[in-house]
Amino acid sequence: MNLKTLGVAALALATTSTLAFAQARDTIQVAGSSTVLPFASIVAEEFGNAFPAFNTPVVGSGGTGGGFRQFCEGVGPNTIDIANASRPISAAEIATCNTNGVNQILEVQFGFDGIVFATSTSQGDFALTPLHVFKALAAQVPVDGVWVANPYTNWNQIDPALPDQAITLVIPASNHGTREVFQTRVIDAGCHEVGGAEAQCTTFRTDGRVVEISGDYTETLARLQSAPAAVGVFGLSFYEENRDTLKVASVSGIVPTLETVADGTYPVSRPLYFYVKGEHIGVIPGIAEFVTYFLSDEMAGPGGFLQDAGLIPEPDDVRAAALAGFEARTVVAPR
């Protein structure tokens, strides 16, 4: 009977599926930060092409936090080998990892990313400071020394030098690693300048002038297209790819460029990392080669492939130190 053979086939399929997880994996599996994803994907693709002996690594997203969660699930072929991150791993995450048997967490810092404020090209020029941004989005701001509910509706009320435009800020939601950098480098900086307390620094206005985006930067861009007066927060590499529609704001007088972020004069930048599971080196083929290739001059070096894609490269000696740390299998210390 036709049906009988189909049934047998289905049963066979179900059996193989339950058996197969025992088999070893021969493809490196990476997941994590969506900021690092484009860079990791490019390296993965070039790695697969340059090393015929290894498969092309698979790069998933899921955000920095999601990547660490998968990374710390344990050791074995059905857990990922490398977690991409746009912030350092936290002590709590290291503790989770250790509980689940992941003890060799190797940290590799491979470059920098700038965070920029950008508007639609049709809008006025913004020269922002952390204090401007804080005053634009905090729930409470000091006016004449007294903390009151945020009265500002237009940028030029905060500072007459800013354009006469209604305040709308499109910022990344807290699932993004970008948000943490935005909070510490911009909001906290502005908040501490006027002596704000912890709660005053982290409570944002809720009258619809601050929009949190949990998706990627294309969603932020779409917001700016539908509400042209809005100011959006983007990664420098995203801005670089869309310079025809976006105009960038200076922060504290510094215009973000590859140079100003690389030399540290632009204040809102952060290092990018990936974390390697030491237990998997030698078990999943190609991990050590992949890391070495990632840090090579051709990829993460100045003038390399990743710089063309928007990464701000580290100086040669810093990359050499990162590689040496990896090769010595230096386990990351909680901080």
Partner: protein
């Protein structure tokens, strides 16, 4: 009408005229109501068609140009001084398969280390009036083209030393400039191409080196991040195909068997009623819920690999099962009792009645239900994101356990790519491919129904 009957008695001298009047008036009111209703219906249909036409028009308008891309034909000299790594090992020279495989891999690795980019650079410089910098030339062509050149040499080492015409796919930024998808009047600091690169491109367009060619690689290449201009749908297509195989292999036999049991054999009692209600409810469960379930059961509990078509297929099977059960029960119910009675009267057992007489009659119906269920599963995205199928995969999957992505997920990934000017049309092109597949599947379902349907 009740109002008329209950109305207070009219003046005694004019009862007939009055009711005739009422009827005449209500008649014209009823006619008007009918005309209005028809107009509403027609307007609704026209509005629906207008939306569909608008949707297709926008997608086709933005997506069709993406099937043609800028490419330049240059003469590449495969200089042995740059790329020769000796003859490729042959099996006969080695005692066993393993030794041969190792030698062949070493040969491939040696070839991979050669600088094919410099050959392309020379070839491009040959067609330019003034030589350009390496950086500018690298910005002009899609970087994966150097691997395509290498693969050509690996497949036919006899090419080494010869000069061959090679059609280089232009980079994404050049393609955007070529098609005018970026405002050419913008100043250099708002452009993706530098002034020098713009001049090189324009010169190549002017002398006919750079032309628009059909982008067949959309169908034959896998996704690419380092060389977006050559990104294609082949990997996603194979991933979707493997998932659909799993869906068909699992949900058709289980679904049909379940439907036959429930419809033909199960006693009609509270338990079967409960099962029926549950199946109907399952069909209405949002697909993301199946994704969450799949992630918890197949990945966390059963430890199946992430991003594998087997997991995606299992999740989609769960989703397709109720659709197939409901549709199959429908067609079974439509078989007239006379067929069953006649077979029973001739001495057939219940199993024989079902499998010899009823089932053959409903196979076209089951086929249609399957195709529609599969078409639905093919377009499903949300549950796949939860089982890790949104990863960047640059290999064509060769089995159920290989990492892969799926067509609708590929769409989602391209939609989120940061190079908006290039990927917006590219996403529409992928939509066209996906819609084309859907229309094909649905047309097949209609054809089979028309061709094989039995009417009673």
């Amino acid at each position: 009408m009740a109002d008329v009957a209950l109305a207070p008695s009219p003046a005694p001298d004019a009862p007939r005229t009055r009711s005739a009047d009422l009827i005449a008036r209500s008649l014209s009111r009823r006619r008007r109501a009918e005309v209005r209703f028809r107009a509403y219906g027609l307007a609704a249909v026209i509005a629906a068609i207008a939306f569909v036409v608008f949707l297709f028009w926008t997608i086709l308008q933005s997506g069709l140009p993406a099937f043609f891309q800028a490419a330049m034909t240059v003469e590449v000299t495969l200089d042995p001084a740059v790329i020769d790594v000796g003859p490729r090992p042959v099996r006969a020279d080695f005692p066993n398969e393993a030794a041969f495989a190792a030698a062949d891999l070493a040969w491939q690795t040696a070839l991979a280390g050669k600088n094919f980019g410099s050959l392309i650079e020379r070839a491009v410089n040959a067609v330019l009036a003034t030589p350009a910098s390496s950086r500018d030339i690298r910005a002009i062509y899609a970087s994966n083209e150097r691997f395509r050149l290498r693969d050509m040499v690996a497949a036919d080492p006899g090419l080494i030393g010869r000069t061959i015409p090679f059609t280089l796919v232009a980079s994404a930024d050049v393609d955007v400039w070529f098609k005018g998808n970026i405002d050419r009047s913008l100043p250099e600091n708002q452009q993706q191409l530098t002034l020098a690169q713009q001049q090189i491109t324009d010169a190549m367009i002017a002398d006919g080196t750079m032309k628009s060619v059909f982008a067949s690689w959309i169908f034959t290449n896998v996704d690419s991040r380092s060389s977006p201009a050559t990104a294609g749908l082949a990997g996603a297509f194979m991933g979707s195909l493997f998932m659909m195989l799993v869906v068909i292999a699992l949900s058709v036999p289980i679904g049909v068997a379940g439907a036959i049991y429930l419809e033909e054999f199960a006693p009609k009692n509270r338990i079967t009623d409960l099962i029926e209600v549950n199946i109907n409810n399952l069909a209405a469960v949002p697909s993301i819920v199946f994704g969450l379930l799949g992630a918890a059961v197949f990945i966390n509990a059963m430890h199946l690999p992430l991003s594998a078509p087997i997991v995606g297929g299992l999740v989609l099977s769960l989703m397709t099962l109720p659709t197939i059960i409901i549709a199959t029960r429908g067609v079974l119910r439509a078989v007239p009792p006379s067929i069953r009675e006649a077979a029973t009267g001739l001495g057939a057992s219940r199993v024989q009645v079902v499998f010899h007489h009823v089932l053959p009659l409903v196979i076209p119906g089951i086929l249609t239900a399957t195709i529609i269920g599969v078409a639905q599963a093919l377009g499903e995205t949300a549950p796949l994101l939860l089982v890790g199928m949104s990863a960047f995969v640059a290999n064509i999957p060769t089995g159920l356990f290989d990492q892969s992505t799926a067509l609708p997920v590929q769409l989602f990934l391209w939609q989120g790519n940061e190079n908006r000017n290039f990927f917006e049309p590219r996403t529409s092109a992928a939509i066209i491919v996906l819609l084309g597949l859907m229309i094909l599947l649905n047309a097949l379902a209609i054809f089979l129904r028309q061709r094989f349907q039995t009417r009673w």
